[in-house]
Symmetry: C2
Subunit: 455 residues, 2 copies
């Protein structure tokens, strides 16, 4: 039997294996889970060895280790695929609203419920099982395979960039594939070709040397919480656009063709209402909801604090206040330049009655993949037998820092081929993954490797 038949015949064993992996609470942000992180890495390495990968290593980083495996038996003339995924998961506490233990997977209505089922254990494991199916019975994958499965994606991949720098030779490939995202619906595969970049900042405003008595000094001192509110309020125009001069200068506008493609998977207002619960949409009215999310940069206030905000009341005039601000950026915007524009603007609008400082915390570029490359054609080809129809193209509003690394440092076309569903509860309670999508995902991965080989 061929790889596709093997995968179908072993579907229930593959699912049991995935459940074993999901039972390991590999929460990368939790220092108490360090042993579980190691256990998850070893579990994956063991399975990769068992399926016949000749080189499997648990490679240390300054944080959690990377699991790396490769099979280069297709030879130097065959293309090489780099699969990226992660074995770490978001925190999950049953009190947050889980209806069952987040680390004891259960099946209900065709879905496996567990933390990491969709993000990303289930999706990256589909590639491991695709490799197993191709290697089974002395089989030969048609492409060389490299798998890089990291343990720090949920904490912002702080060590991945230097890992890539250090192992450029080892990671050399022709195409990178990442399954760590969502599809529009069960039957509609989608390929994400744009992710947004990110600038993380914090803005501090202070005036008096310490908290003051509001009765003694109120009315003579510019309240730093008020001043911060005034600065923050001045960062947007009344129409929802960002008011920082130059903010949109480098944004590439959507072509009519791209707009039409994106319109195939609209972000309907009804869905928006269901997902957000907010009273009505906000933002740049000349752009559709999915365009605002996928194709426009934004400036978001992630948090703000100053003074007394507990239960009850305290008549303090606070000495300082802080806001956490981030921008999602689109392709062609430089995160450091954007930071500088905002920093200069904040300086300009800070009145002489207070002091302010905007500090850069994090910067990552947007990723943008050409939809007309051979690798993209292979992905389209693979989706048809995998799902019964060709994929739609989507822009995602989120950020995966590693994509920019693979894209820019390794000069690889990155194919974002998500097997999850957009409403899969990735970072919230009751995360779930469709059993059917897991199986179709394995088939699609095999089709994709085969399509790349044929090019």
């Amino acid at each position: 039997m061929n790889a596709h038949e093997y995968a179908a015949a072993n579907a229930s064993r593959f699912l049991d294996q995935l459940k074993d992996l999901l039972r390991i609470p590999s929460v990368s942000t939790d220092p108490d889970r360090k042993a579980d992180m190691q256990r998850a890495a070893e579990w994956l390495a063991d399975d990769l060895r068992r399926i016949g990968m000749p080189r499997v290593e648990i490679m240390p980083t300054a944080g959690h280790p990377v699991v790396y495996a490769e099979w280069l038996g297709a030879g130097e003339t065959a293309p090489t695929i780099l699969v990226y995924g992660h074995y770490d998961v978001q925190p999950a506490e049953i009190e947050a609203g889980w209806t069952s233990d987040p680390f004891e997977p259960i099946e209900r209505d065709g879905f496996v419920y567990a933390r990491g089922s969709s993000d990303d254990k289930g999706q990256v494991f589909a590639h491991v099982k695709a490799a197993e199916a191709l290697l089974a019975n002395g089989g030969q994958p048609p492409v060389n395979l490299k798998l890089l499965i990291e343990g720090e994606e949920e904490i912002g991949s702080p060590n991945l960039s230097s890992f890539v720098d250090k192992h450029r030779e080892m990671l050399k490939a022709d195409v990178c594939v990442i399954s760590d995202g969502g599809m529009a619906s069960m039957d509609q595969p989608s390929i994400v070709y744009a992710l947004r970049g990110l600038v993380g900042m914090e803005l501090e405003v202070w005036g008096p040397a310490q908290d003051l008595h509001s009765g003694q000094y109120g009315g003579t001192v510019h309240n730093p919480v008020q001043a911060l509110a005034e600065i923050v309020a001045a960062l947007h125009n009344p129409d929802g656009s960002v008011s920082v001069p130059g903010f949109y200068n480098d944004v590439l506008s959507l072509s009519d063709e791209e707009r039409a493609e994106l319109d195939k998977t609209p972000f309907l207002e009804a869905d928006w209402r269901r997902a957000t619960g907010a009273p009505q949409p906000w933002g740049e009215a000349q752009f559709k909801l999915h365009e605002r999310v996928g194709a426009r940069p934004t400036l978001e206030i992630n948090g703000m604090a100053g003074g007394f905000y507990g239960v009850g009341f305290k008549t303090v005039l606070p000495g300082k206040a802080l806001a956490k601000i981030s921008c999602r950026l689109v392709a062609n915007q430089n995160p450091h330049h954007i930071y500088e524009l905002i920093r200069d603007y904040v300086k300009l609008i800070t009145p002489p009655t207070v002091r302010s400082e905007l500090r850069l915390l994090q910067a990552g570029e947007a990723a943008f993949v050409d939809r007309h490359t051979p690798a993209m054609q292979a992905a389209i080809t693979a989706d048809e037998p995998g799902w019964g129809q060709p994929p739609v193209f989507a822009r995602e509003g989120g950020s995966i820092p590693s994509v920019a690394d693979f894209n820019h440092k390794l000069k690889l076309p990155v194919i974002l081929m998500g097997f999850g569903l957009n409403d899969g509860g990735a970072h919230g309670p009751n995360e779930h993954f469709s059993v059917q999508l897991f199986q179709r995902g394995i088939q699609t991965a095999i089709f994709f490797y085969e399509a790349i080989a044929k090019q």
Copy 2:
């Protein structure tokens, strides 16, 4: 010897007694100090009995008890003075910057350092010792005396108003005197004739039903922290005045005579800079600093919080945000009406993309005492021999809720005769009280009772 001579002869014993009282850590806000609160009340009641007050009671309230004492031996035709003060103190931890144990008084350069030395044990105890001097050696005070010393001033006197309601007959008097404030300098007595009222509120803004992923929804959802900042920023005009329509409608303007009186104790910019450390003054430029504090209402943001504001970074789009807002009000402004004006304005400027609610937490009226009453004349008369010169009149920016109660409910003229210094560290570390001012305070209290008797 007369009362003045007796007070002078017993000065060092009085000071030792005050130190005993200061050793009791009667922190009203701390549930662990309940026994100390009782102990302080008993210590005062014991001393009041010892000096010869025929009626002394520790009267329960829903919170900490009131110490009440009276001597009515001057007879029905003589005036009756109600002395108000408090035996509770602010919290004090040595780590907050105290150079010595806050509850072990020490003398240094003519000052006693201890929590409560100035606010208010030292000041109210000056009246107790004035009564002792008048009663000593079978003496007869020239006025009837009632002392109400409460234990909840530092937590906003939550039970005083109902205590006053319940005991209107008992508290009947001709004048109320409160020594719980500061003087401009060691040699310049001042009488406060205006205190500001207070409205405490909280403003909540929410939009989405829960926190959202900023990458997936940013740009389509009106961020509640941003919306709150926009609303808060809209509460002031660029010139520092409050923008809420009608806010200043009921404010009485200062007469030229009152302005001239207030100008005698100016709030100098140099002092302002030293006290605040802020870069430059802010507020209504057409009013002097001391006028902004004493004679103008203000709107202050006491605190604000929403989203993530810890160390590091989280790309959340927060579901809600909260601000604590208070107004200091001047005479003739109704706190409930001011709350309604702000509530209606906030409603008006809240955009349809979020929801908001302004909740009332606390409301107290301003106090304003006619400077031309006989009681005020008696206070002026008493200050001259007490301090060597007549008092200046001052408006204070703070609020003492009880003053409005005595003023409005008991229809009493309230004389605010502070014996502390304005920079006495009342609510901060290293609170201190001048030994000389303590002694002069006792003499002034006696002069005041005598002056009232002569009217």
